[in-house]
């Protein structure tokens, strides 16, 4: 049982946790800046990015894919800004125009090119394939100390861990400027912070997290983790520090519970096969958010106590 757990479930759970945390951290700031849907837009435009990278390089080397996806994400952000300014269109609609168009272009390219030989299709891009990231060489917990077995870990694990670490480091290093520019842009500008650069850096960080996570777990988890854990955390506390910690906790909880429910839940109900782990992780994060909406201590708007007539 232990050996089986290490072999089949340990790496997917760890990858899920790293992906969730890497997305939830920038999500906190995106939500406070009313940019929550940037995550949605980014996770859609990743598809054309990897398709173009595939067409240019002819292979599925993950570095090229990551670069293509990150390039597409940055391009999308610039295009959204351009459409917003040039056409004087409200941000939501500008975003909708850009990401749907790029996604449609990606699907068309994918259909036009011969990708049948490689594992590249829309469904995989959306749903990921967390369950397949298993650690073949593992014999049990002791394999964690065995260099030969460790070398056979799926590539996604070290990459996701690295990205997660980078995101955590960036959040800690740029904590003060991020916090100040998020809450009071005018003040941040007055004390000389490069507000526009901070905003763009945040979006790029989110894009990097999204691209790395997308590669391993599909875009549903990416959108869900950008929004649900930070949103639930926002309803738990009024302090940013606490909110970020809550969101990390919720992200880890959703990843673990989601994976366990997906893998073992059907067995409890007499089913034979597991269901999609990515979908289940998103569903659990939604459940957490739902509970926070109903019972979170700070769920009401400031100054708007609960109306006794409506409660």
């Amino acid at each position: 049982m232990h050996a089986e757990f290490v072999q089949l479930s340990l790496t997917p759970i760890l990858i899920g946790i790293f992906a969730s945390v890497a997305c939830a951290l920038p999500g906190n700031f995106l939500i406070l800046r009313r940019q929550a849907l940037i995550g949605d837009a980014i996770s859609h435009v990743v598809l054309p990015g990897i398709v173009v990278a595939f067409l240019l390089t002819g292979g599925v080397a993950s570095m090229a894919m990551m670069l293509g996806a990150a390039g597409a994400a940055v391009l999308a952000v610039l295009l959204i800004e351009a459409v917003k300014r040039l056409g004087r269109i409200e941000p939501g609609a500008a975003m909708g125009v850009v990401f749907t168009s790029m996604f449609a272009g990606g699907v068309l390219l994918l259909e036009q090119s011969d990708t049948s030989s490689v594992h590249l299709d829309v469904q995989h891009a959306l749903m990921g394939n967390l369950e397949s990231l298993i650690w073949f060489k593992a014999k049990g917990w002791h394999s964690l100390a065995d260099p030969a077995a460790l070398a056979a870990l799926p590539d996604e694990l070290p990459r996701m861990a690295l990205v997660c670490l980078v995101v955590v480091a960036l959040t800690v290093i740029f904590w003060r400027p991020l916090k100040i520019s998020t809450f009071d842009e005018g003040f941040a500008r007055a004390i000389g912070l490069p507000v526009a650069a901070i905003g763009f850096g945040l979006v790029v960080t989110a894009a990097v997290a999204a691209v790395a996570a997308f590669d391993a777990v599909g875009s549903i988890i990416v959108i869900a983790m950008f929004i649900c854990p930070p949103a639930a955390a926002r309803l738990m506390t009024n302090r940013l520090e606490a909110q970020v910690l809550w969101s990390v906790g919720f992200a880890v909880l959703a990843a673990v519970l989601g994976y366990v429910f997906a893998g073992y839940g059907p067995l409890w109900f007499g089913g034979a096969e597991a269901v999609s782990a990515a979908g289940m992780i998103a569903a659990v994060s939604g459940l957490i958010l739902g509970l926070a909406c109903l019972f979170g201590p700070c769920r009401a708007r400031v100054g708007q106590g609960r109306d006794p007539a409506e409660a």
Binding site: I31, R34, A36, L37, G39, D40, H44, V83, L86, G87, I89, E90, G92, A93, A94, G96, V97, T100, S101, F103, A104, G105, V107, L108, E111, Q112, V122, Q123, L126, M127, I220, I221, I223, A224, I227, C228, A231, R234, L235, A262, P266, G271, E273, A274, V275, S276, A278, G279, A282, A283, S285, G286, L289, C293, G296, C298, R299, A300, R301, V302
Partner: protein, 408 residues
Amino acid sequence: MSDLLAALTLQAGYNAALVAIGAALLGFAAGAAGTFLFLRKRALVSDAVAHATLPGVGLAFILMVALGGDGRSLLGLLAGSAVTAGVGLLLVEWIARRTRLAEDAAIGAVLSVFFGIGVVLLTVIQTMSSGRQAGLESFLLGSTAGMLYLDAVVIAVGGALSVLAVWVLRRPMTLVSFDPDYAAACGYDVRRIDLAMMALVMAVTVIGLKIVGLILIVAMLIVPPVTARFWTERAGRVIWIAAGLGAVSGYVGAAVSASAPALPTGPIIVLTATALFLLSLLFAPARGVLAAVLRHRRFQRRVHRRQGLLALARGELIHDPLTLSVLRRAGLIRADGVATEAGRAQAAKAARDEHRWEIARLVNQDTALTGRYDGLTPIERVFTADQIAEFDRHLGPPRPVAGDAAGA
């Protein structure tokens, strides 16, 4: 090319013709319904609605199989998707109204969670014995390949009903889109009209699932209204222009997709709409980028001409190449920079107008009039001939301009 022509003229076969007509009707309804959403600045709510249809499709399939059917009836699947889309919509409203979370966070949360649940249900269905060939994945990106006559009828009737609903509700919905407070003061129930608007969006989404798919249907609701907005400033016209653009995108997209293999219908429709959007963004008469550039250049030239004339009047050297070229092209200076007869006359006029403005500011205390001085507006457009004659009494007779501009 002839394949495309055949498809565009509905000659490419029975199925392709059905799809093209259905897509045109859908595009019409989506463009019109999306306009209200766009004017209300809630375009992305439709994204949440669209993604929330997926669990409904799965649940409806499971339910129909459990009741003994084969689970693939389009009407049943669409009914199921409408139910969860409605639940998702209400949840977005509820989260945005009852908690401190902003609407965008609510949209993102509902979108991702419902989609996640939908994916879980799809994997459940794949393990069911009757689910292996269900083909429910086609609802993600739409698929028109095997569309049945009955499916096309469902889409056409649904599209027509949505258009009718837009027609009936256009006045209250336009009012609410522009000024909800005023609408409330007029006695309209804003919340109910909002819900009706959303119900319309939901209907279009559900109808579009089969053709465009749930990921791209938002484009049908967002892109045509944004495009239409470039062409007019009147709400009543935006609705019908958006509807027309949506219909054209749907029709052309479906036809192009039918004309060759490996051209998926949904993405082609969306890219057609995007092409129309880009054309409008660049070339629309008043709000387009090209028009703005031309406007800017015209303004720039007026400023340079005016400043150049004043410099001529003061006998100063002109160094700026743009000013020189503007004056030269207007025949106000010669190639060597010396003012021509016409140039001296206009320079004298410009200088005199400047002096008239100075007097005007002294004599006339009405800042609403003197405040209109911007160096470009002709003084004759602000003051009457009598007033200008009055200023001229203070100034004395006109003075001629002698000098040459570029030195010499």
